[in-house]
C-alpha cells in the first residue's frame, strides 16, 4: 500500500485484529480449559480466564491419560507421535533428496519415465490408496508397529520435486568443477549439493514434521493397541460417545500438549524456514 489515509489504516487494523481474535479465541479457550478442574468445566458460564490447575492437569494426562477413556498415558502417545513425525520428516527428506539427485545428475535409461511416475503419485493422497496400503501393511505384519505407521508415508513426491527444482538451479559448471577437482558423484553430493540444500532441507523439515505429526486417518487404521496411539487420535478417543461425562479440562490439556511440538519446531526453525522458502544461496 502506498496510500496513507488514516481511515484506511484504521480499517486495515480493525480487520486484522478481528481476524486474529477469531483465530486465537479457540486456542485461548483451549488453554483456559486446561487450567481448570473438571467440575469447573461443567458449570455454566464457562470460564474465560485461566485457573490454577494447569500443572496438575498436565501431570495427570502425561502419567495416566484420561480416566474412563480407553487411552494410554499422553506421555506415551507424545512419544509415539514424535517418533512417527520425526521418522516421516527425516525419512522423506533422505529418500527424496537421493532420488532427486539421481534424476537430475545421472543419465540412466527411462530417467524421465521414473521422474513422471514419481510426479504422478503426487496426485494420489493417502486417502485414495488407503485400502491397498492397509492390505499390504497388514500382510507384512506391521500393524501396531512404528514401521507400519511410518513406511507407507515415507516417500514424498512433493519433496522429490522440490529438491529436483532446486538442483536444477545449481549451475552445471559447479558439478564440472568438482569433477575436475576429482570429486566423484558421492563426494559431490556430500561436499557440495548437501551443504547447498541446507535451507531447503530445513524448510521441508518444518513442513514434513507438521504433516507427520498431524496424521490422523492412517494411525487410526493401523494402530489397535492403546500403547501405539498417537496423540492426535488419542484426543479423539478421549471423548467417549453417548452420555458419558467428558473431562474437558484433560482433553484440552492434551490438545495443548499436542499443539506444542509443531509450534516449537516452527518457532525454532523459523529463520531457516523463511530463508529456505524465499532465497537461494548463490
Amino acid at each position: 500500500m502506498i496510500e496513507h489515509r488514516p481511515g484506511l489504516n484504521f480499517f486495515c487494523h480493525a480487520l486484522l485484529i478481528t481476524a486474529i481474535v477469531v483465530i486465537l479465541f479457540p486456542v485461548w479457550f483451549t488453554f483456559v480449559a486446561s487450567t481448570h478442574t473438571a467440575e469447573r468445566m461443567r458449570e455454566v458460564p464457562l470460564p474465560l480466564w485461566p485457573g490454577g490447575e494447569l500443572w496438575q492437569n498436565v501431570v495427570a494426562v502425561l502419567r495416566h491419560g484420561v480416566a474412563g477413556a480407553s487411552t494410554a498415558p499422553v506421555g506415551r502417545m507424545m512419544v509415539n507421535s514424535l517418533i512417527m513425525a520425526l521418522s516421516i520428516a527425516i525419512g522423506k527428506i533422505i529418500i527424496s533428496i537421493i532420488s532427486a539427485y539421481a534424476i537430475v545428475y545421472f543419465r540412466f535409461r527411462l530417467r524421465m519415465l521414473f521422474f513422471w511416475m514419481i510426479f504422478i503419485t503426487l496426485m494420489l493422497p493417502v486417502e485414495v490408496r488407503i485400502f491397498p496400503t492397509y492390505k499390504v501393511v497388514s500382510e507384512l505384519h506391521m500393524v501396531d508397529s512404528y514401521q507400519g505407521l511410518v513406511l507407507p508415508l515415507i516417500a514424498s513426491a512433493t519433496a522429490t520435486f522440490l529438491f529436483r527444482q532446486f538442483f536444477l538451479t545449481i549451475p552445471d559448471s559447479l558439478m564440472e568443477a568438482a569433477w575436475m577437482d576429482g570429486a566423484g558423484p558421492m563426494r559431490f553430493f556430500w561436499d557440495v549439493v548437501l551443504p547447498l540444500s541446507r535451507t531447503n532441507i530445513a524448510a521441508l523439515f518444518v513442513i514434513l514434521f507438521i504433516y507427520g505429526w498431524n496424521q490422523y486417518l492412517w494411525p487410526l487404521l493401523i494402530t489397535t493397541q492403546e500403547s501405539m496411539y498417537t496423540v492426535v487420535i488419542g484426543i479423539k478417543r478421549m471423548i467417549p460417545g453417548g452420555d458419558a461425562s467428558v473431562d474437558w479440562n484433560l482433553v484440552m490439556t492434551t490438545a495443548m500438549l499436542a499443539m506444542l511440538p509443531p509450534a516449537l519446531v516452527v518457532i525454532l526453525m523459523q529463520k531457516w524456514f523463511v530463508k529456505g522458502l524465499i532465497e537461494q544461496e548463490k
Binding site: S173, L174, A177, W179, M180, G182, E281
Partner: protein
C-alpha cells in the same frame, strides 16, 4: 608442463557436427587462444581437452599420452570456468584447497600451496571469505587460484573474462599475461573477444561456425595475412573491407561490381583477369590529395570514437555499389560528402571469391 596434441578431432551431438577435423600441436609452455564467433565449437573443443565432453573421433594427447578415455581428474589439467564455478558455501581457502584435499595431500602441504597461490593473486586477505562476499575480479582470481594450486600440466580457460566489466577485463588480461610469464604452464584459452586473443596469444586458432579451422598462427601473422575471408572479417574492427570484382587483364586495377574501377597501388600481372575479392583494412586507408586517390567513397555516416572516427561510405552511384569503412583521424572532415583515400601495396589482400581462401600476389 606438457605439450598438447589435438589430432583430427571430430565431435557431433547426434546429427549435428560441432567440431569437424581440428588438428593442432601445442608446444610446452605455449599460450594458445581459440577464438571464433559464438557457436563455433571452441568451448566444446576445450571441454574435450578437459574431459568433460567425449571425443567422437580423433585423438587428444597431453604430454605424449592419449587421454581420450581418461577421467578429467587423471589428465592433470585445471580449468577456469566462465562463471567461475566457485563452491558458494566454502571459503576462498577451502575453494582452492578442495581439489588438493580429495587428492589426499597433507594439511600442511595444502596450506603451503594455497598460501602461495593466494600471494601470487593477492588474495591473502580474503582467504576466510565466501565467494559471494567478493567482487567479480576477486572471484575470477579465486577461480584462477583453484587452478594454480593444483600445479597442473595444462591450464584451460573458458571465456574467463567475459563476466567482467571493460576496465577490469584489461587489468585481468595483464594479470593473466604476468601469471603465464611466471608459471610458464601450457595454456589453452577460449574467447570470442579478438582483443583478448590478439593480446594474450602466442598463437591463435581461429574457428568458424561448424567447428572448422580457419587459421592457426601468431596474432600478427593472422592479422597481416588472414588465410580466409572469414578471418579477415573476424579479426580486426571494423572488419576488413572486401570488394568483389575482376582484375583487369594487366592486373593494375579492379573492375568492381557496380561498374566502379579501383586502381591498385601496383600492378599484379600474374593475377590479371581473375575474379577476386580485394581486401583492405579500414585502418590502412589514409586520406590523400584528389589526384592520388584510389578510392573515393560517398560518406554515409561517421562514428566518432574520440581519437579516431569510423567513416562508412559507398563507392559509385547507387546503394548496391561496394561499401567501404575507414578508420581516420577524428579531424578529417568529408568534403561535399566525399573522401579521397589511398592505400599501399603491403596492405592489399586478395581472396578467391568461391573458396574464400587467400591468394598470394
Amino acid at each position: 608442463m606438457a605439450a598438447v596434441s589435438i589430432r583430427d578431432v571430430y565431435k557431433s551431438f547426434g546429427e549435428v557436427k560441432v567440431i569437424q577435423g581440428i588438428s593442432m600441436e601445442i608446444a610446452d609452455g605455449e599460450f594458445v587462444v581459440m577464438v571464433g564467433p559464438s557457436g563455433c565449437g571452441k568451448s566444446t573443443l576445450l571441454r574435450m581437452v578437459a574431459g568433460l565432453e567425449s571425443i567422437t573421433s580423433g585423438d587428444i594427447a597431453i604430454d605424449g599420452k592419449v587421454v581420450n578415455n581418461l577421467e578429467p581428474k587423471d589428465r592433470d589439467i585445471a580449468m577456469v570456468f566462465q562463471n567461475y564455478a566457485l563452491y558458494p558455501h566454502m571459503t576462498v581457502h577451502d575453494n582452492m584447497a578442495y581439489g588438493l584435499k580429495i587428492r589426499g595431500l597433507s594439511k600442511a602441504e595444502i596450506d603451503t600451496r594455497v598460501n602461495r597461490a593466494a600471494e601470487i593473486l593477492e588474495l591473502s586477505k580474503f582467504l576466510k571469505r565466501r565467494p559471494r562476499e567478493l567482487s567479480g575480479g576477486q572471484r575470477q582470481r579465486v577461480a584462477m587460484g583453484r587452478a594454480i594450486v593444483r600445479d597442473p600440466k595444462v591450464f584451460l580457460f573458458d571465456e574467463p573474462l567475459s563476466n567482467l566489466d571493460a576496465k577490469l577485463r584489461v587489468q585481468m588480461r595483464e594479470e593473466l599475461q604476468a601469471l603465464h610469464q611466471r608459471l610458464a604452464t601450457t595454456t589453452l584459452y577460449v574467447t570470442h573477444d579478438q582483443v583478448e586473443a590478439m593480446t594474450l596469444a602466442h598463437r591463435m586458432l581461429v574457428m568458424s561456425t561448424g567447428g572448422k579451422t580457419e587459421q592457426i598462427g601468431a596474432p600478427l601473422e593472422v592479422y597481416d595475412k588472414p588465410a580466409t575471408t572469414f578471418v579477415a572479417g573476424f579479426i580486426g574492427s571494423p572488419p576488413m573491407n572486401l570488394i568483389a570484382g575482376r582484375l583487369e587483364p594487366d592486373g593494375a586495377a579492379l573492375a568492381a561490381e557496380g561498374g566502379v574501377r579501383i586502381a591498385l597501388p601496383q600492378a599484379y600481372p600474374k593475377l590479371g583477369g581473375r575474379s577476386m575479392l580485394l581486401g583492405v583494412r579500414p585502418e590502412h586507408l589514409e586520406i590523400c590529395a584528389e589526384g592520388q586517390a584510389l578510392l573515393v567513397p560517398q560518406v554515409d555516416f561517421v562514428e566518432l570514437l574520440g581519437a579516431d572516427s569510423l567513416v562508412y561510405g559507398h563507392i559509385g552511384k547507387d546503394k548496391a555499389s561496394p561499401r567501404v569503412a575507414a578508420r581516420l583521424h577524428a579531424s578529417v572532415k568529408p568534403q561535399n560528402g566525399h573522401l579521397w583515400l589511398r592505400f599501399v601495396a603491403e596492405n592489399v589482400h586478395f581472396f578467391d571469391p568461391d573458396t574464400g581462401r587467400r591468394i598470394e600476389a
